[in-house]
Structure formats: C-alpha cells, structure tokens
C-alpha cells in the first residue's frame, strides 16, 4: 500500500501520466466562468474562471479563508452563487440544490463531517438512495451491501454500527464511501486527511487513484503540500477569493505554490529557535485514566514536548486528564515539584495550564457567539472589576489576538460560525494566549491551518517558550512534531511506548513505534 508520508514511496506520477495526456484533448467536464459568491459585504469568491478535465485529480490550495470551501459548496448546491456561470459538460447548469448536484453526479466530502450520527453506517451510506421493495426498505440487504462496499474500498468499518460511535476519522471514511458510491462523475474532497490516521489516509489515496482510473474527476483540497504533489495532476491556487493560477504538477514546486498562496516567499515553515530549557513544570508518574495507562513524562520551561501517535492512541485523553476534564484514576502529578491532583478544569486554569482542544466545533468554540466573546471566555474572571466586566479591556484583549494571529474578520463582534475553518482554529488558539499560562497544551493545533499561518503559530510557540512557558504539542502530523518537539513521546493504544530527543530518531523509526511493528 502506498504511503504518502513515506520518503521511499513510489512516485505516483508514473501511473497518473497516461490519463493526464488523454484528458488534455477532451473538453472540460466542468467549467466555471466568473463564478462569484458574496456573504453580505464579504466577497468570499471573486469572479473566478476554472476548468476541470475528465479523469484528472485537480488540487486546490490556498490560505485559510481563501474561498476553497466556498467554491466546493457552490459546486454541490449547498449555497447559491451570487454571480457567474457553471458549465457541466459544456451546458450551463444551475446547481441550486444539493439534489441537482447529485443528479449530475457531483458529490463531495465536506470539510466538517456532515452525516447523521444517530443512524447506522449503512443508513448513512444509503441515505437519500435507499433500496426499496414494495415501498418497504430492505434494511438487511442495505447493510450487507454497505459492508461489501466498505470492504471493497479497504475500509475496515462495521456497516451496522451507529455512526456516532465511530471516531471522526472513521466517520470521514464513511462520508468518502458514501460520496464515491453514487454513480459519481465528479468528486470533491475538502481537507479529507485532517482527521485521518496514516493508514486511513493510505486507504483513501488508494481509493482516489482507483476512482481516477475509472474516469472520475477528483478535486482535492488540502493544506498538506506533499499530498498535493503526490496525488494531483494539476493544482490551482486561490488567494483572497481570487484564482491566481493553475499549474501542471510537474511544472511547479512547493516554493512557487506557497509564494502564490501568500503573495510572498516563505523560507521556512518550522521555525525553531534555541531556547534555554528551565525547571520542570509538570511531571507525571505512572498516570492512568480513561483511555491511557501508566504514562510518565515531564515538561520543562522552554521545552516543547511532542506527543505523536495514531488517532485513538490516547493522547487527547491524557491531555484532557491533565486539564481536569477526566481526572486521572491512578498515578501522580507533580506541578512545579509539588504533588497534587487535578480534579477540574477551573483548577487547571488557575494553576496555569491552558488547553486548546482538538475538536474546534465540539470542544473549542461557542459557534453562535462572537469572536471576541470566545477569545475572552477563559479570562472573564480577570476582566472583571468587582462583579462587573471591564468592557474596554474586553475589547482591547480580543482585538489584540485578532491582529496578532491575523484572524481574518471585519470585527471582533462577528459570530465565529461565519468564519472559515482555519480562522476558527486560530480563535481556539487565541483564546489561551491572553491567559498567560505556564503550560500550554495544543491538541492538533494546525488542523486545517494554511502554511503561512502554521508558520505564524510555530513562531508564536517560540514567543511562549521565551516567556518561560512549556508546551505539550499533540499532533498526528509527523513532520510537525518531528520538527518542533524537543522531546518526542510516541503513544500507542493508551501507552507511552517510546521517547526520543529532537531528531534523535528517523521518521521510520517513530512510525514503527506508533504502529507497533
């Protein structure tokens, strides 16, 4: 099986090439002419022309809020365009409703998983397309069929399971199976690998290649450049809602794409300064709790401790436990040398721990409240004079984070739900920066964040460390932890299985530890 992260993976271009040449002679399957989308005063997509060829994999890259998801939503009838035309196989089409898009064979796997958590995997896969005989659904047949399809795609998923019981990554795979099933001619993936494990990602890539071989056009949106270079035939770059260019993959490189995306060149994404490492902030000894067992590690001032592992390895549970969400059941915690137990979030916050959780939608944000509100939520006790909140200080703090993190918004009073995924992620991080904690726990902080902002966030880590803080960085994205962490711990099924100093081990070594081979 091809592994996208593996340096030694066979070059995918070899078998992608013939299709590309065949496609070039054909008329485009889908063409956008002056497509435009406004949200009130925000021009999310500015008059863009773009064409997609039959059977190509077309990557779209761009900064957070560049308009990628907006483009996808327009093509799938989720939202309506405010201007421009869409040509499907040369004919103008409306694409005003999801049904219309589905009827044309346009399907998408959206950035946020949109499935019904209360229904079974099979029911989700067949939703809107049930097998019916004499007016009655054939539930058994559907479950069997769904299982066959999942097995066929190489996804090991139980078709009879309630979707809500699966991990986000598994749900994403169900969404993929669903989308690729429906006689699709045009399939869009919006950051599909953000929540996938490596092996899940590998399964996904295999599926994408197979679909391409069957003549399906694939649009692939990602912030991960190596995926783009591995999979795509062509790549288009969006910036501020504007299409800045399309390149054949063989005729461009990462530097050029990044420069097109952010309108400047970026020498280095992983920005790591030499910072003096100080006293031990927190130390756990044999800590066990829900989802993890016998974890011993320590974090010192000025140090980034990376936790790597596959999804479900127990890192988030460990972090939540340190933060008092699910208090540990056994083992010891020493905070600045003193033993104590952390029993609730408030206590953790008052001690000086900050946690940016992994799921922005479920854990990180109050979506229907303003940005400023979200940023200040952890510090309202400090914004209060007596019982009352200092309104001016509240505004000042929020505005500072918005400008420091370059959050793209007209005002701190805008609701978080109206921001792009990556900008929402910045709010999740921003809400802890006013807090002045000693220990920062970042759980998947760069999910859905563009390269430019990633670099900003890493630089920000440096600032925090210089101020004497320590950081726990949880990431399922190996290059990130590998490059950033001073100490790297590998988790597997709830256990800490290996610890390495900076660049002490190779990617392969760490991977092997995480997978357990």
């Amino acid at each position: 099986m091809t592994d996208p992260y593996d340096a030694g993976a066979p070059a995918p271009q070899t078998h992608a090439q013939p299709h590309k040449q065949a496609a070039e002679t054909e008329a485009p399957i889908l063409e956008l002419r002056g497509l435009e989308k406004r949200y009130g005063f925000v021009q999310a997509l500015k008059r863009s022309d773009l064409s997609f060829r039959r059977g190509e994999i077309h990557a779209i890259v761009g900064e957070n809020g560049a308009g990628k998801s907006t483009l996808i939503k327009l093509l799938t009838g989720v939202i309506r365009r405010t201007g421009g035309d869409i040509l499907w196989q040369g004919e103008p089409v409306g694409l005003d409703t999801p049904q219309e898009a589905i009827d044309h064979g346009i399907n998408a796997v959206h950035q946020e998983v949109v499935l019904c958590r209360h229904l079974t995997v099979a029911a989700n896969i067949f939703l809107g397309d049930e097998k019916v005989r004499f007016g009655l659904m054939q539930q058994r047949a559907m479950t069997r069929e769904a299982q066959r399809i999942l097995d066929d795609m190489g996804f090991q998923l139980p078709a009879g399971e309630i979707l809500g019981n699966l991990t986000i990554g598994q749900q994403q795979l169900v969404a993929t199976a669903r989308a690729s099933l429906r006689g699709t001619k045009f399939l869009i993936f919006d950051e599909p690998t953000a929540y996938l494990t490596r092996s899940e990602a590998a399964q996904l890539f295999a599926l994408i290649r197979r679909l391409k071989a069957e003549g399906v056009t694939i649009v692939y949106i990602s912030h991960r450049m190596e995926e783009v270079f591995e999979l795509a035939d062509r790549v288009s770059v969006l910036r501020d809602g504007l299409l800045v260019g399309t390149r054949n993959i063989g005729e461009t490189d990462e530097t050029e794409l990044v420069a097109m995306m952010i309108n400047r060149s970026l020498e280095q994404i992983y920005h790591k300064e030499k910072i003096a490492i100080g006293e031990v902030l927190i130390e756990t000894k044999g800590l066990s709790g829900k989802g993890f067992e016998n974890v011993s590690l320590s974090v010192r001032r000025g140090e980034i401790v990376g936790l790597y592992g596959l999804i479900g390895a127990g890192r988030s549970e460990f972090a939540l436990s340190l933060f008092g969400r699910n208090p540990a059941t056994s083992g010891e915690i020493f905070w600045k040398g003193k033993p104590l137990s952390i029993t609730n979030e408030r206590q953790a916050i008052e001690m000086g721990i900050a946690l940016a959780p992994e799921s922005r939608r479920d854990q990180g944000l109050a979506l229907n409240l303003p940005i400023g509100f979200n940023i200040n939520l952890p510090v309202y006790d400090r914004l209060s004079r007596g019982p009352l909140i200092d309104g001016r200080e509240e505004g000042r703090l929020a505005d500072r984070q918005i400008s420091d993190l370059a959050i793209k918004t007209p005002s701190r009073r805008v609701l978080v739900s109206a921001m792009s995924g990556g900008n929402q992620q910045k709010v999740v991080i921003g809400k802890w920066l006013n807090h002045g904690a000693d220990l920062f726990i970042f759980d998947e902080p760069t999910v859905g964040v563009d390269v430019g902002t990633k670099a900003e966030i890493y630089r920000l880590f440096g600032d925090l460390l210089k101020n004497g803080a320590g950081i726990i960085l949880i990431s399922s994205y190996l290059p990130e932890v590998y490059e950033m962490a001073d100490t790297l711990h590998v988790f597997r099924t709830g256990h800490l299985v290996a610890s390495r100093k900076f660049h002490e081990a190779s990617h392969e070594d760490i991977l092997a530890q995480a997978i357990g081979v």
Binding site: T76, V78, P98, Q99, I102, H110, V114, L115, C116, R117, H118, L119, T120, A123, L127, G128, D129, E130, V132, G135, L136, M137, Q139, G154, F155, Q156, L157, P158, G160, E161, I162, N165, L166, T167, Q170, L173, T197, R198, S199, E200, Q203, L310, G312, I515
Partner: protein, 322 residues
C-alpha cells in the same frame, strides 16, 4: 491497517430500542400485576376494557407527536386541535353531513393545520415551539367563536355509540390505536420517509446534502401529528357526544410525556412507535390504579410527576451506559 474497531462494541440501535421497549413493557406489566393484587377490581374484564379506552386517545396523540419529536421539533397544539376537531365534527354532523363526510372533513382540516405548521416552520423560519404555541392559542379561540362558547350536541347515536362498543371483546377505541399504530410503525421503521425523519432530526444539513427534501419531511411530520390529533378529536367527540373547543386541555403535555417516557429524545433522531404507545398506557394505568385504590386526586398528580422523573431517569441512565 489501524481502523480500530470501537472498544466495546455498543449494541446496535435496533436491538437497543427493542430491549428498551421490553423493559418499558415489563414495567407496564409489573404495574398491572401489582394493581391486580392490590385491588380486587383491576383485573376484571370491565376494568381492562376501561383502561384500554382511557389510554387510547393519548396513545394516538403520542404516536403523532413522536414523528414531530424525532425531527427535533415539538407540537404543542395537539390538545387544541383535539378540542377544535370535536367542534368541527359535531358541527358537521349537526348540519346533516354523513358521518364519513364529517370525519373526512375534520381530518382534512387537521391536515391543513399541520401543513400550516410546516409552512410556518419551513418558510417563515419559526421555532416549532412558538409556531405550535401560537396555533394552540388561536385554535381554541376559533373553536369557541364557532360555538360561541357553547357545546354542540351530537344526536347521531351511531356515532357516539361507536366509542363505547367493543369488537372481539376489545374496545373499539383500542382498535383505533391499532389502526393508527400499525401503519405508523411501518412508516417510521420500514419506509424511507421514516428514515428521512430520523435523518432530519439528527442533522438536517446532512439530510439536505443527501438529497432529502428536508422541508417536505417537516411538512409530513407536522401533518401526521395534526391529523392524528384531529382523529383523536373525532374519537373524543364520539366518546363525550358533544363538540366543545375547550376539551383536551393539557393533552399536549401528556402526549409529550408519554412520548418521552417511551424513550423518544427531545433532541431528535431517537424514537419509536411502540415506546410512546407503552408510555401512554403506563400513564393511563397510573391514573386508573390511583382511582381504583381511591388515592386522593392531588396525590395522583404528585405521583405522576415523580414517576415521570423516575422513568425518564432510568432511561437516561441506560442510554448513557450504552
């Protein structure tokens, strides 16, 4: 390949629902056994027939309500529709409309009310709670206006006797429950529309993206609830022999309570047809038993409230354990 199967394999939803219905049923039967021992009259055929009659109307309302609650909505207007329907059907009968015509027209009016709710929720963006609260208020007014606050006597004895008679030893009213519950069960659990109701309740956006016509499902859910309520209005008119707009006050809350006792979640996407049915008969049994045991009617209220808490608490507990 590391697609970890979920740790402890949670029971499949179908099995779970089934088991839960069984425990509820067990509770109902337990209540019956206790009452049969505690009072000499509970077990008499006469009383069993009474009990079946007494639970019937709330049971039918609860089934209708379930469709709405599964879409994460709520229908507060059912009591008012029942009262209003007793007026329409009585008025029509007194105008000389034949029984089948009067019933049909009443059901159609129910349908119209349900569609109006759907319209308000889908097109006007009203929250279901407020939309149906407003109809509740207005409908009682309309019914009172029609009768000028009085009651309409139904002189058609065939119509009124129907509700008192039995067929094969089972009261006609309970047959009506079966008449509603069986198609409702098939609709909810074995047709795609039933599935879509769950999908809409679970995640309307996802349902929409799957090509489910979400507005249509909302229209269907509220129409079903309103038609069930209109049907109950017809049955009530037959039972009390009059049309009176103020009848069935508070039945909306009883139907919601039955539905929730029957394992339906007010957050949507969880529910069945058999659950609310059992829930309605549990409530009816509590009242019937309290009457037979000569429990003070004030105590009866207190006990009902506490029992609701206890039953729903155990439901929640079981759910969380799963």
């Amino acid at each position: 390949m590391s697609t970890e199967a979920p740790q402890k394999k949670p029971m499949s939803m179908r099995n779970f629902n089934f088991l839960f219905a069984l425990t509820l049923l067990a509770l109902l039967i337990l209540l019956w056994v206790i009452l049969a021992i505690a009072t000499p009259n509970f077990g008499t055929p006469n009383n069993i027939a009474n009990l079946l009659r007494q639970g019937s109307m709330i049971a039918i309302l609860a089934i209708g309500q379930t469709f709405v609650i599964i879409t994460a909505g709520i229908d507060l207007s059912v009591g008012a529709i029942v009262g209003f329907s007793t007026v329409t059907v009585a008025w029509l009968l007194q105008q000389g409309v034949p029984v089948w015509g009067a019933i049909l027209i009443t059901l159609l009016i129910g349908l119209a009310i349900g569609l109006f709710h759907g319209f308000g929720i889908v097109k006007m963006g009203m929250p279901p709670f407020i939309m149906t609260l407003a109809t509740l208020t207005s409908l009682r007014g309309v019914g009172l206006l029609i009768t000028n606050g009085a009651t309409i006597n139904i002189t058609d004895t065939g119509f009124t006797e129907f509700s008192r008679n039995s067929f094969l030893g089972i009261p006609n009213l309970f047959w009506m429950v079966i008449l509603v519950a069986v198609p409702a069960y098939i609709f909810l659990h074995h047709t795609r529309w039933g599935r879509y109701l769950f999908a809409v309740g679970s995640n309307p956006e996802s349902a929409r993206l799957s090509g489910v016509n979400v507005p249509r499902m909302i229209y269907i859910a509220y129409s079903l609830s309103a038609v069930c309520a209109a049907f109950v209005g017809v049955l009530l008119a037959a039972r009390i022999g009059i049309g009176n707009a103020t009848q069935a006050e508070g039945w909306e809350l009883q139907s919601i309570a039955s539905t929730v006792i029957g394992g339906t979640s007010l957050f949507g996407a969880v529910g069945s047809v058999h659950g609310p049915l059992i829930g309605a008969f549990i409530l009816a049994t509590i009242n019937n038993g309290a009457n037979l045991l000569n429990v003070n009617s004030f105590w009866q209220r207190i006990i009902t409230g506490l029992l609701i808490i206890v039953i729903v608490f155990f439901d929640q507990l079981r759910r969380r354990r799963q």
